[in-house]
Every structure is written in C-alpha cells, then in structure tokens.
C-alpha cells in the first residue's frame, strides 16, 4: 500500500530512527506532501578545507538518507529500506552553504525500489550531485 500523504511528525519519526541523520544535522522541509531534506552547512561536513568543498561522502550519505526516508514514508514500511547499489555523479563543488535533496521513486516493486535523488544548493536547476540506485524495501504485504 503506497502512502502518498505524510506529516512532518512522521518524517521526524523516520529520521529519528537513523542516528546518522543527527551527525550531518538533517532537517525536513515539507511542502504539501513533497519532502525536501536539508543538510545545514556545518564545519563537520567539509572535506577539503582549502577550496573549501563539502565532503563527497557527506553529500552521498545525505542523498542516500533522503532516498531511504522517502521510501520509508511512501511505502509505509515498518523496517527501514536498505541500499543494494548506488551510483553517484558529482556535478559541482559543494560550497560551504546549506544543501537540499529530494528523492523520486522511479519504481517500487514488491521487494526492491529504484530511486533517484537530486542534491542542490543555490538552484534546483544546478544540482551539485545526483544519485540513482536500488534499495531493498519489501512491501508489508510481502516480506519475502
């Protein structure tokens, strides 16, 4: 059963189950039922202090977290979805400022889902990084 409507309390509850979300300071922004996650700028997510640039690993982890959160809410899963394989393209240097991410579930099967995530800073049309990958997200009616 796909749930397309969810509340901020539900989003926070999913994020609360992932201690890593706290490490990179993730916050939700809900517009209607469209979820955007924010990774606020903090010294802790810098990878190259000279350029300066955000750590590619921090941006990747943030996008992965966005995919899992979107899937968990949309599918109404009791268990958190797990990544199987992801591809990440780094398109622009992550500047020392807030980063946003939004996930699009391209396909949700019985056990596995394909998700695309876009991360951006100044403009949605100028993504700094994009992720696509598969996640194990078994539907509640079929736990196999």
């Amino acid at each position: 059963m796909t749930v397309s409507k969810f509340t901020e309390a539900q989003v926070k509850s999913v994020l609360g189950r992932m201690p890593y979300a706290k490490l990179i300071g993730v916050k939700p922004l809900l517009m209607g039922h469209e979820l955007t996650l924010i990774m606020p700028y903090a010294q802790e997510v810098i990878g190259n202090p000279v350029l300066p640039a955000l750590h590619g690993g921090a941006v990747s982890a943030f996008m992965e977290l966005t995919a899992i959160t979107q899937l968990a809410l949309q599918g109404g899963h009791t268990k958190l979805p797990k990544p199987v394989g992801v591809n990440i393209d780094y398109l622009r240097r992550g500047k020392p400022m807030d980063t946003y991410a939004r996930a699009l579930v391209a396909r949700e099967g019985k056990r596995v889902a394909n998700v695309r995530v876009r991360a951006w800073q100044e403009s949605f049309n100028e993504p700094i990084s994009m992720l696509h990958g598969h996640f194990m997200a078994p539907r509640q009616s079929n736990n196999g």
């Binding site: 010294q43 990747s60 797990k82 780094y90």
Partner: protein, 177 residues
C-alpha cells in the same frame, strides 16, 4: 596497470605517508566520522572507520549507515587516486558506484582498501572494497573516477597540511601529519 610514474618512487612514497592523514583525520568531515589513516603506497590506500554509535543507520539493527561506508570508500579511493597521479594537487570525484554486499557487523571497524588500476595524466580509475576483518567477505565494493583539478594554490598539499593542523589544534589533539 598504472603507467610508469614520472617521479622518484621512494621519495613519493615518503611524501604520501606524510600527507595522507590530512585526508582522513585532517578533514573536518573525516574527523567527525572518525576516519583513520592506515597505509598508503603508489596507487594504493587503506583507511579504517571504527564503529561508533553516531554512525548507526538503523537504531533497531545498530548497523552502521551505508552512507558512512560510502564516505569511507570515497576517501580511500581519493587517496589511492592521488597516490597514483603525477601531481599532488586537488582532486574532484567524477562518479562513484557502491555495491552493498551485506550489512556491516555492529561493533566492528570497517577497513577500506583502494587500488588505482589506471591513471592517465589527470584521470584516475579506482576500485575498492570495504570489509570488517576478512577481505574475502566484503561489506561493500566501490568503483570511482577522479580528475585532478586546478586548486589555484601554489602548493595545495602545504595549504591542506596547515588546515589539518588547525583542525587538530581546534580539537585539542595532535595531527599525525
């Protein structure tokens, strides 16, 4: 196979061991995660990530977050790429592919071993695995492409060394670099 390098191997090896911790303990994110430099050689790098409750991805299973393993692999691949390229300047990751083979065992340190199997003048192709003790039973594997970029600084590594020392000072610890 990496093309025969245009630098003195013994000298470069020594230099790499000096600068490598700047990419692990010496970056703010590396310090926040707890990345630890293990070893570096021409075209090769090993970095570890000790288990920590902050890194958990699912409080029910207490398994380390996949994204933490991604960050570890990204950093190990980047260091192996740097260790294969002619110039020691800033690198940009073009893309990264991660396969998650199994859940990491809660409590165990994850070790990433990366190998740059081909380097051109400014592009490096890297493969890596992450395991928690047995490299025959990996947690994840990675494939990445890096490109050298112009950082604009005269000696990028010297600037990074300075930045790493500042980070260590701010944390009250001592830089290994």
């Amino acid at each position: 196979m990496t093309d025969s390098p245009k630098f003195d191997i013994a000298e470069r090896r020594e230099k790499l061991w000096t600068i490598a911790p700047m990419f692990t303990e010496g970056t703010p994110h590396g310090a926040a995660l707890g990345l630890k430099f293990v070893a570096v050689d021409i075209g090769r790098a090993t970095i570890s990530l000790p288990y920590n409750a902050k890194l958990i991805g699912d409080s029910e299973t207490r398994v380390m977050f996949g994204g933490a393993v991604t960050a570890l692999l990204d950093q190990a691949c980047g260091l192996a790429a740097l260790a294969a390229l002619e110039k020691l300047d800033a690198l940009a990751t073009l893309d990264l592919r991660i396969d998650y083979m199994r859940a990491a065992t809660p409590g165990e340190t994850i070790i990433a071993e990366a190998h740059c199997y081909k380097a051109t003048r400014d592009v490096a192709f890297v493969r890596a695995i992450a395991h928690d003790g047995d490299s025959e039973d990996p947690v994840a594997s990675a494939q990445a492409i890096f490109m050298q970029i112009k950082s604009g600084s005269e000696d990028h590594m010297a600037d990074r060394k300075k930045a790493a020392e500042n980070i260590a000072d701010a944390r009250g610890g001592t830089a290994r670099a």
